[in-house]
């Protein structure tokens, strides 16, 4: 591992340590009843992970999340490629995606429930609604802003169309697309969890709502911490991949 990588890991470790310290201080200031301290939260996380009920919730959320993520990524990539590659289609239709990003998605929730009913399909649809538009917009922009010199270089190296696309154009836009995936990754998680919070009888989002209802602070903090760790790890991996492609 390079010195630069060690440095980055050190920075992350330091940031985590400072965050935990601040959390501990805040918990002391407002009281453990209001804000569960880090150690107790960690104990609750391990306790939850050992419970069959929580494992089922985790599996339900994971199933909906990864389903929604796959649709949002593939759909966003396809839509972005069409919008970015064909001006005649992208120019009139892309503003609709921008409007969708700016609109609070909760407003669509009744419609989604009418269309998909209560259950996994609605959670997936809500996740896709959150994650697909940013992936599509960023992909379209990456394709439009692609430096034309790469296409020219491919021509002068006498590449055929397929090789030009696969060996030159795709790698050239990959850092931006990975940036879009990174945003989509978090947005899909948000969509699925919100979906579970409001219209589901299982899943991590549902458990979070139930815990809020009975004011179970340790469980609330444990779930929030788990979600934070999952989102942070995924985001960091995608960021590292994007930077590696750029370097």
């Amino acid at each position: 591992m390079k010195r630069e990588s060690f440095g980055r890991i050190g920075d992350i470790a330091l940031a985590c340590a400072v965050s935990v310290l601040l959390w501990e201080c805040l918990s002391l200031a407002v009281g453990a009843r209001t804000l569960t301290p880090p150690l107790e939260t960690a104990q609750r996380i391990f306790a939850l992970l050992g419970q069959a009920g929580f494992q089922n919730d985790l599996i339900a959320t994971a199933r909906a999340y990864f389903g929604a993520l796959a649709i949002a990524m593939a759909g966003g990539l396809a839509l972005g490629t069409i919008f970015g590659g064909w001006k005649a289609i992208g120019e009139p239709l892309e503003p609709g995606l921008h409007v969708l990003v700016a609109t609070p998605k909760v407003a669509f929730y009744p419609v989604i429930l009418l269309l998909f009913g209560l259950g996994d399909a609605a959670k997936i649809a809500f996740g896709v609604l959150h994650g697909l538009p940013p992936v599509a917009i960023i992909t379209a922009n990456a394709i439009r802003e692609l430096n034309p010199i790469y296409r020219k270089a491919a021509l002068t190296l006498r590449l055929n169309r397929l090789h030009t696309a696969w060996r030159v154009l795709v790698p050239a836009v990959m850092p931006e697309i990975l940036g879009g995936f990174r945003i989509g990754f978090g947005q899909v998680l948000l969509g699925v969890l919100v979906g579970e919070m409001f219209a589901s009888s299982r899943g991590v989002g549902h458990l979070l709502m139930a815990s809020i209802g009975v004011d179970d602070q340790p469980t609330i903090l444990a779930i929030v911490t788990l979600v934070f760790l999952f989102a942070g790890t995924g985001s960091a991996v995608l960021l590292a991949l994007a930077e590696r492609r750029k370097a």
């Binding site: 790469y150 006498r158 990959m174 750029k246 370097a247």
Partner: protein, 267 residues
């Protein structure tokens, strides 16, 4: 010219069609020249006279509206022929690949064996002074070194005609002189024909056997001048009195056209 032309441009003209409110632009008009095998030919002209358009047409990237191009007796139109290599002004290295993989890229695509690729790439990297940077990414190199990567990527394909579109335009004067030396060495060792597009009068004077001076848009050759330099030459010729005289001669041919390109009345 004693040698048979390797490249023949015959009455090349090009019009960029207008779109929406913009009018059609005639970039080139009746450009004709014969370039001999092994010759170093430079093209200079005012900004916007169509020099880069001409290079795109010669490379086969752009089909001309009028006229014809022959490379080694075969017509060039709409595709880059085997035997032509192009180096652009912009950094065209692939940032996602190492220097070594950048240089090997064209060879891999054309199906060469691993042993041959390795030998040719190592030679090209050493030739361009990049051997120690083989595993670096382009982002870790200076602008001049990245341009050398692009030259090496072209060089490994052993082109018989090398087209250079202001390859040193973004570099400082000292680096340009040194890169000029490397280009002359490359030209001598490979025996390739070189067509250089440049806006630098001194660069054209130092490097070329002949210099074609283009008019303001629509561009065409108003004069073709022979430098008379020996084949064995390098950047030290800038100190030669004939260097200044030839550069002045080029400027004299170009000045009126440059003023026209700027929209100034030339009287």
């Amino acid at each position: 010219m004693a040698l048979a032309p390797v490249l023949r441009l015959n009455g090349i003209g090009h019009v960029f069609a207008g779109s929406g409110q913009s009018e059609a632009v005639r970039a080139l008009e009746n450009v004709s020249v014969d370039i001999a095998a092994g010759e170093f030919f430079a093209v200079i002209g005012p900004s916007g006279c169509g020099k880069s358009t001409l290079l795109d047409i010669v490379a086969g990237i752009l089909a001309p509206s009028e006229g014809s191009i022959e490379f080694e007796g075969k017509s060039v139109r709409g595709a880059v022929p085997e035997g032509i290599g192009v180096v652009f002004q912009e950094d065209a290295s692939f940032p996602w690949l190492s220097v070594w993989d950048n240089v090997a890229f064209g060879l891999r695509e054309s199906g060469h064996g691993a042993g041959e690729i390795s030998g040719r790439v190592d030679y090209a990297l050493d030739f361009m002074g990049l051997g120690a940077f083989a595993q670096h990414r382009p982002a870790q190199l200076s602008g001049g070194m990245r341009q050398r990567v692009c030259i090496a990527r072209t060089l490994v394909l052993r082109p018989r005609l090398i087209l250079l579109d202001e390859p040193f335009g973004a570099l400082d004067q000292q680096t340009r002189l040194l890169m000029g030396d490397e280009l002359l060495r490359l030209w001598r060792e490979t025996g390739a024909t070189v067509l250089l597009i440049t806006h630098g009068l001194d660069e054209a004077t130092m490097l070329a056997d002949r210099v074609g001076v283009m008019s303001a848009r629509p561009g065409h050759f108003i004069e073709t001048l022979t430098t008379g330099w020996p084949r064995e030459r390098d950047s030290t010729i800038v100190a030669d009195a004939r260097f200044g005289a030839f550069t002045a001669k080029l400027w004299s041919a170009l000045r009126t056209e440059s003023l026209r390109a700027l929209g100034r009345d030339t009287g």
